[in-house]
């Protein structure tokens, strides 16, 4: 029973981090139509920033300032946002497909940087001894407290994005996505809004990266691979319903359940097949992506459902006011 409970705590924590990522992608793709398939870059930058700010100084590399955890989290958001700002500045005027390939390029360059700049990142050996939040609570309660931290942050991100979506800001983003604004606003304004959405989404991705790093306690360039950190998030958002805030969270939990369930399945494979387990699960991700697009294009909770809900609520509020 204890094992089951502690697995449940682990499951919710990781799914919660993925839900934060899914919400971040929803700001970029769902609301604004920005095609980012370099999520892993912003997650890795956030994770490394927070780790290097908070670990104890080391003899082998320059990072390691031993600062408190909250500083690491804020720093993670800032560096990811700064990276996104410069990437966005040069690429956000591009069509969706060109932006997509540009973000792949960014992810590749970040990977090379983390691997090669050993003076800063300790290279392929990675950085261990990452301080873990609530370590003082001990083996039993630490995971629970960490889970609560993830859930609180998830709730904060959810309500901020939900408010932003319903505010005029979110409507402008939607109009930009649907190309409705080009006649009303100058190209400059449109680009500014796209940049805001891109930077905001990337900052949240950086935060998720930091959470993940402190949850696991170790970072290395290989830990951030596009499959689990970019494409899994895409499947979550698309399956949940891109543009729909609740859908983004729901998709994250459901797909994480399928994904971790697939691990149980592959664990049952005969030993000679075990090395192929990762490949099987990669195929599963691809298959899920294609199947959702073919049979449930809008996702489980569609954006139009949500718009109908919004309109009904506004009507109710008006009636009450009037």
């Amino acid at each position: 029973m204890d094992a089951l409970l502690s697995y449940a705590v682990f499951f919710v924590s990781i799914a919660g981090i993925y839900a934060i990522l899914s919400l971040a992608l929803n700001v970029q793709w769902g609301l604004t139509g920005l095609f980012n398939i370099g999520i892993v870059a912003f997650v890795a930058v956030g994770a490394y920033t927070s780790v290097l700010l908070t670990v104890e100084p080391s003899a082998t590399f320059d990072g390691g300032l031993g600062l408190p955890l909250p500083v690491g989290f804020v720093g993670a958001m800032v560096t990811s946002a700064v990276l996104a700002f410069f990437v966005g500045l040069i690429t956000l005027n591009l069509r969706a497909d060109y932006l997509a390939i540009a973000t792949i390029g960014i992810a590749e360059i970040v990977r090379l940087f983390l691997k090669n700049e050993e003076w800063l990142t300790n290279g392929v050996r990675g950085v261990g001894g990452v301080p873990r939040p609530f370590a003082e609570l001990g083996q039993v309660w630490m995971p629970v407290a960490q889970m609560l931290l993830v859930l609180v942050l998830l709730a904060v991100v959810f309500f901020l994005i939900e408010r932003a979506r319903r505010a005029p800001w979110g409507r402008v983003l939607r109009a930009i996505r649907e190309n409705e604004l080009t006649v009303l606003a100058s190209g400059k304004t449109v680009k500014a809004f796209r940049l805001q959405a891109f930077v905001l989404g990337s900052a949240i991705m950086g935060l998720a990266g930091a959470l993940w790093a402190h949850f696991v306690g170790f970072v290395s360039p290989e830990a951030f691979e596009p499959l689990q950190t970019t494409f899994l998030v895409w499947v979550m958002l698309i399956a949940g319903g891109s543009g729909n805030t609740k859908g983004a969270v729901l998709g994250a939990f459901i797909i994480w359940a399928i994904w971790s369930g697939s691990q149980f399945a592959t664990d049952l494979l005969p030993p000679e097949m075990v090395t192929q387990a990762g490949a099987l699960r990669m195929g599963l991700i691809g298959l899920l992506l294609v199947l959702v697009l073919l049979f449930r294009n809008e996702g489980l909770l569609s954006e139009s459902d949500q718009r109908r809900g919004d309109l009904a609520r506004e009507a109710r509020e008006e009636r009450r006011a009037g």
Partner: protein, 291 residues
Amino acid sequence: MAELLQLVVFGLVLGSILTLGAIGLSLTYGILKFAHFAHGDFMTLGAYFALSLVAMAHLPILLSIPIAALATILVALVADRLIYRRLRRTRPVILLIASVGVALILRSAVQIIWGPNVQVYSPGIQLPYVIPFGDGAIRIKPDHLIIMGGALILVSALHVFLQYTRVGKAMRAMSDNPDLARVTGIDTEKIVLWTWGIGIFLAAVGGIFAGMDAQLHPVVGWRLLLPVFAAAILGGIGRPYGAIAGGMTIGLAQELSTLVIDPSYKPAVSFAIMVLVLIFRPRGIFAGRST
């Protein structure tokens, strides 16, 4: 000087591989109007089909190349029929996401069938031809000659096909304006099949060449996707001739860049070139034709 020429040779070899990938990407982009992100993984698939023919059926590599490429076309046509064709009426970006899914499925299949480890077509080391030059020497492996020669032959054949055959002209027409092609009476579904056929054939051969140049591994094509895209964009999307110039430019630039930057950042070069082109000449540098 010899060092420089040696890098030019490497650049031409890499350029040949990228060109074969970029032509197909550019054609599918121009005619089907979406960025086919599984293109790199089709390159991988072709390379592994050839590996089976060489290692298990003991066919010579030169005979394996066309057979493997044809087999890869079959897989692409299945993907088109089961997935892409059904989504063709939706937005191009949906097709793009679907092609990412196809890429993951292909890579997974390659890894399951052939294993995750690095493999080679023929064990042992090829003795290079050594050409003394000035203070040093230039080394060219026999495989390098096959790669460059093969690319040259295929590109010439493509040129003849596009310029002088009915279907080739129709492909160029459809790349220009698919709607007009339809009302002109061109059987566009047939042209789509030809586009997949030619694009994937060239990609598969490019993948095999990449395996001959270095080694085979399940992400060989995915790693090539970025420079292949860069080459296609540099040449102007939908322009097969531009893709040739783009492929050669990116290949040479990546290899020559090692003179001035850390070789481990080589992949960043194609990215930098691509971003610069997208900002300053979004229609491509070699898109000389007026439209």
